[in-house]
């Protein structure tokens, strides 16, 4: 049967078999039944085959045996006979049971008060009279009560006000408070630095590990604020959240006042805050738990110092301080994602956008900030496209999608321009015919065919340009430092994204090359233009060792040049722009050939090794 108490710890297999022999902890856990069955089997098998470990196990067993005997021997002389004390206990238990079943104090007082009367006369009239007398006595007691009663709430108000006043004389005050925390026989000290101007806290703890663990456990149990012990405002807030009734004020002596709060439910049964009577400064806090254990917090020193007198790095250490994790029921501050998590999320977002074609020319930006996470914003064609993208990106953590439609942007622009803009004068610039006008006419006498060809070619160049731009953006978004943050899975995902872009781009460039060969002049079709410069000889020796990122940048730049050249050759250009068709054609052929070679090399590199 499965043992309900057997909980598996973080004692992993790697810890068991870290060397040739078993560690002591493995043998001790084996004897204590604190290993999983598979771990126990492995350890037992090793012990059977290893004499050294077997003898160590025997030594541990002997030590335990001796210790158990010793404990029994020590206690044996003092163990009571079975009957001794039992009778007394039964009597005490009975008294307690009767006490718990007794009527309330008011009823008992009432019964006692009317008891003598009851002997004399048991009539109803006498009972009523007794009640009236009691009520009258209560009224009198109420009227003559001491008038100067200070409520706990008022004391807390004074404590908060006086603490604020004490800070006023210091520029950029920092409260340096040293406290001692005691719980379950353990003790630890903490020094807390509270920057009252910037509302930040830092703390240092002593090295008492057991005390620290016990203190943190007690804080967690009682849902206390780790950063604000001995604070009147925190105490009031805590009481408001956990206690139904108010606190009771008890004057412990002429110097100290204690506010006592009893709780009827929850793990804390009583919470006390002790303040100095002369300045209402909190000096002691005491929490009693359901299991009778106590958490005591006492102030050892308190001073308000200017910020300039402290080392600057004190508040930088805040992240290193080991504040306890709060239970889920406690309101938690939102956790900011790590840089690695953001980088991985960004890759996921890029993959999703790529699958939906959102990285090819649409005005969609991905920005990553430590405070806002991954923000995807931009302008898309219509609401349907926005919904498509938003629903695909919906499941991503730390991601905010802010997409607008073209219509919305137009509306905004219109409303903005209606306020500020003045109508711009339209300047008509006469356009010269395309540089390849005669070649186009020769190949496509039909105007419609010509237009179709030109539009198709321009579109192909534009698509290649968009893909080159997307590829280049991936490189810009993931420099070496960012790649180092990615885990293997995200790195593979990014690699697949890059490979996909490169392979499609190779097809795009090949198609464009074929398309343009119809119209480009034969004179530009030289051997030099159709021969790619070998990649390793492309320049200096440094280029031979270049990384894939540099190659992507060069591909992007070449594709941009190709796009520009195609547009210049096939569309109207301003007069006197100084373009020479023959030079552009040669450059275009050369760029296309070179880009193909670069893309092939890039494809091989990306397939060859993992991104780095």
């Amino acid at each position: 049967m499965k043992n309900p108490l057997r909980r598996r710890s973080n004692f992993t297999d790697s810890k068991i078999f870290s060397g040739d022999h078993l560690p002591d902890e493995a043998l001790i856990r084996l004897l204590d039944g604190e290993l999983s069955s598979s771990q126990a089997d492995k350890v037992n098998a090793h012990v059977l085959s290893c004499w050294a470990c077997r003898s160590r196990r025997q030594a541990i067993e002997d030590a335990i045996l001796e210790f158990v005997d010793h404990q029994n021997t020590v206690a044996a002389a003092y163990l009571p006979p079975s009957s001794e004390g039992r009778v007394l206990f039964l009597a005490r238990l009975n008294a307690l049971a009767a006490e718990l079943e007794r009527p309330s104090l008011l009823k008992r007082c009432f019964d006692r008060a009317i008891h003598p009367v009851g002997i004399v006369a048991k009539s109803r009239v006498v009972h009523i009279a007794a009640v009236l007398v009691l009520v009258a006595m209560c009224l009198i007691a109420y009227l003559i009560r001491p008038l100067h009663v200070v409520s706990a709430d008022e004391i807390l108000n004074r404590a908060i006000a006086l603490e604020n006043t004490s800070l006023q004389g210091t520029s950029r005050p920092v409260v340096v408070q040293k406290i001692r925390i005691r719980v379950g026989g353990h003790s630890m000290t903490r020094t807390i630095y509270r920057d009252m101007t910037h509302r930040r806290t830092a703390s240092q703890m002593d090295d008492a590990l057991a005390g620290r663990d016990a203190a943190k456990a007690a804080y967690l149990k009682s849902a206390l604020d780790w950063d604000s012990p001995l604070d009147a405002e925190t105490y009031r807030r805590w009481c408001n959240e956990h206690a139904k009734g108010g606190a009771r004020v008890v004057q412990r002596d002429s110097n100290r006042i204690t506010l006592k709060t009893k709780l009827s439910s929850g793990v804390v049964t009583e919470a006390d805050l002790t303040l100095r009577a002369d300045d209402y400064h909190a000096i002691e806090e005491n929490f009693r738990f359901e299991d009778q254990s106590e958490l005591e917090i006492a102030e050892l020193s308190y001073e308000v110092v200017p910020f300039s007198s402290l080392p600057k790095q004190i508040f930088e250490l805040r992240l290193a301080s080991s504040a306890p994790r709060l239970p889920s029921i406690v309101k938690m501050r939102p956790m900011l994602p790590t840089s690695a998590e953001l980088a991985q999320t960004e890759v996921q977002a890029e993959t999703i956008l790529h699958k939906l074609g959102g990285d090819l020319g649409e005005q969609i930006n991905i920005a990553v900030t430590a405070t806002h996470g991954v923000v995807i914003d931009g302008v898309v064609a219509d609401d349907m496209r926005r919904k498509e993208l938003a629903s695909a990106l919906q499941g991503l953590a730390y991601t905010t999608v802010k997409l607008s439609t073209v219509a919305e942007m137009a509306q905004r622009t219109a409303s903005a321009s209606s306020i500020h803009a003045t109508p711009a004068a339209v300047q008509v610039i006469p356009a010269a015919p395309p540089l390849l006008d005669s070649e186009l006419d020769a190949h496509f006498p039909d105007k419609e065919q010509r237009d179709t060809y030109v539009n198709q070619t321009l579109s192909m160049a534009q698509i290649a340009s968009a893909r080159g731009w997307a590829l280049n953006r991936l490189v810009d978004r993931h420099p070496a430092a960012s790649l180092a943050l990615l885990d293997d899975s995200s790195r593979r995902e990014l690699q697949e994204l890059l490979i996909d872009h490169v392979s499609v781009l190779r097809e795009d460039i090949g198609s464009l090359q074929k398309q343009l060969s119809q119209i480009l002049s034969k004179s530009s079709d030289t051997l030099a233009a159709n021969t790619a410069i070998p990649i390793s000889d492309a320049g200096s020796t440094a280029q031979a060792d270049e990384d894939w990122q540099e190659r992507v940048r060069r591909v992007h730049s070449s594709i941009e040049a190709i796009h520009e050249a195609v547009a210049t050759l096939l569309t109207s250009s301003p007069p006197d722009s100084g373009n020479n068709a023959e030079t552009i054609e040669v450059n275009l052929r050369t760029s296309l050939t070179q880009v193909q070679a670069e893309l092939q090399a890039l494809d091989e590199e990306l397939h060859k090794e993992v991104l780095k």
């Binding site: 909980r7 030594a59 001796e66 002389a77 206990f89 009597a91 026989g185 353990h186 456990a217």
Partner: protein, 214 residues
């Protein structure tokens, strides 16, 4: 639970805490709480409800609790008081609707905390002093047959005591609770520390004892 079997080997026995508590006791039978008429209250018999559970647990755990409290250094004259106070609080706990999933741990935890409070308020040394040790040595020797064996037994006890004195308070507490059969998680709950701290403390304590024995 660490126990010595007939062959002298250590074996681990575990059962549900409540059942173990009952089986562990000197008198595990169901007993009603028959009050003595001399208490002057009543001849009331409580044969069911929380009283019965508390009495059963008292009978079952009284001796283990005595042994534990003596071993952690509570003066013998205070032990019975702490035990009774613990079980009276248990009664209040049950009547107040408190959790009853692991009452054995709860009892040891409360007894442990009460003993700490008592020792703290009386400013007593937690560990037993030399006088008590002499007395314990004598009590152990009484059962030994010959003077040579008596001397060996006395030396052995002193040797173990010296080794225990070298351990930290936390290590001693963990060992003593382990002797009482608590699992690492339960020890952690009783002492308000994490399970990994318990495992580490036990490992360090046992390794240290083994090395000193060698």
């Amino acid at each position: 639970m660490w126990r010595r079997s007939m062959t002298g080997r250590i074996s681990f026995h575990h059962a549900a805490p409540y059942a173990a508590a009952i089986a562990d006791g000197a008198s595990g039978s169901l007993v009603g709480l028959l009050l003595d008429s001399r208490t002057g209250d009543s001849n009331q018999t409580r044969t069911n409800g929380p009283e019965q559970s508390v009495v059963q647990l008292y009978d079952a755990l009284r001796l283990p609790l005595h042994r534990y409290l003596i071993n952690i250094g509570v003066p013998p004259q205070d032990v019975e008081e702490i035990v009774q106070e613990t079980f009276l609080r248990l009664y209040q706990h049950i009547c107040g609707g408190g959790k009853q999933d692991n009452l054995r741990s709860w009892i040891f935890k409360v007894a442990h905390n009460l003993s700490i409070n008592i020792l703290k308020s009386r400013c007593r040394q937690v560990d037993a002093g030399p006088d008590m040790w002499e007395q314990l040595g004598e009590s152990a020797m009484d059962r030994a047959p010959g003077p040579e064996e008596q001397l060996l037994e006395k030396e052995r006890l002193h040797s173990i005591h010296d080794r225990l004195a070298e351990l930290t308070q936390l290590q001693r507490d963990c060992l003593r609770l382990r002797v009482e059969g608590f699992r690492y998680r339960e020890i952690g709950e009783i002492l308000n520390i994490g399970t990994s701290t318990v495992a580490g403390s036990l490992r360090n304590a046992i390794v240290r004892i083994v090395k000193r024995r060698a």
